[in-house]
């Protein structure tokens, strides 16, 4: 996986959170994930990518960060992780994947994105294709830490 493939997702994540949730994320560590490693945090939004590139993008949040971001996103108090929080994380993942898709499109890579799925639970695992490498990027923000995980490869 080319390192430059991660940049559209970083850019789209920062832009989506700033525009829709008034949260300003700062990029922290970038690392390659090993097969079978758990998701970084408690709640993960997942979207599949298929076409000229294949893979997935995951936005993973600790419970507390997710609740703060979603409260700001919908403009209402969030008392706990309920179905509204899970739906909002799915929608945020959708917005990030959609924005990144546009950037890739302008660079000549065309692909479609799936509808989002959301997983909630400590140490949940996300099963990815074994031959598709995965890079994770952690962020800090005024709402707390979170991470994105991008697994992607070009189709010949």
């Amino acid at each position: 996986m080319k390192a430059e493939y991660i940049n559209p997702f970083i850019e789209s994540t920062i832009n989506a959170l700033k525009t829709m949730a008034m949260v300003s994320p700062k990029r922290e560590k970038l690392q390659v994930k090993k097969d079978g490693e758990s998701a970084m945090y408690d709640i993960s939004g997942i979207i599949g990518l298929a076409g000229g590139v294949v893979g997935s993008v995951v936005l993973s949040f600790p419970k507390e960060t997710a609740m703060k971001i979603v409260a700001s996103f919908i403009g209402e108090d969030v008392p706990d992780v309920n179905k509204d929080v899970l739906d909002a994380i799915g929608e945020l993942t959708n917005i990030v994947a959609g924005s990144a898709k546009k950037i890739f499109y302008e660079q000549g890579h065309h692909f479609k994105i799936s509808l989002p799925n959301v997983v909630y639970g400590k140490d949940h695992k996300i099963n990815r294709a074994r031959d598709v490498p995965c890079i994770s990027v952690t962020f800090s923000s005024d709402a707390g830490p979170f991470a994105i995980e991008v697994s992607l490869k070009e189709v010949q």
Partner: protein
């Protein structure tokens, strides 16, 4: 005026609904996908719809509305992550009156709705 908000995400429907209420429109009907929307068109004066949805997507919904004599002039705004020029052209050709790309600033949403309903 009754406004129909179509999106499979309850979060997005809520954000759009809150904006509509803020600018004075509180007669709002919600639908989760195109098929659901088609059954709720009666008396609707405007439709805001997402593109990517299960069951029936927003583009198919727009084509269905535009081919129905009773509703073909109802203003439609598409609110979507589909942001490539080619996709916007497809939506405009299908008959949407305006197009909002997610992520959007709530002021943008407010301006586009006011432009269509006020003009």
């Amino acid at each position: 005026m009754k406004i129909l908000v179509v999106d499979d995400s309850s979060t997005m429907r809520r954000i759009i609904k809150n904006t509509l209420v803020r600018i004075g429109y509180d007669d709002i009907v919600e639908a989760e996908h195109g098929v659901d929307a088609l059954s709720k068109l009666d008396g609707v004066g405007m439709v805001l719809t997402d593109w990517n949805m299960p069951v029936m997507d927003g583009l198919t919904l727009v084509n269905s509305i535009r081919s129905n004599d009773q509703y073909k002039t109802v203003p439609i705004i598409m609110v979507t992550t589909e942001a490539a020029k080619e996709e916007i052209v497809v939506a405009i050709k299908a008959g949407v009156n305006d197009y909002i790309i997610k992520p959007f600033n709530q002021n943008t949403l407010q301006e586009k709705i006011s432009k269509i309903l006020g003009g």
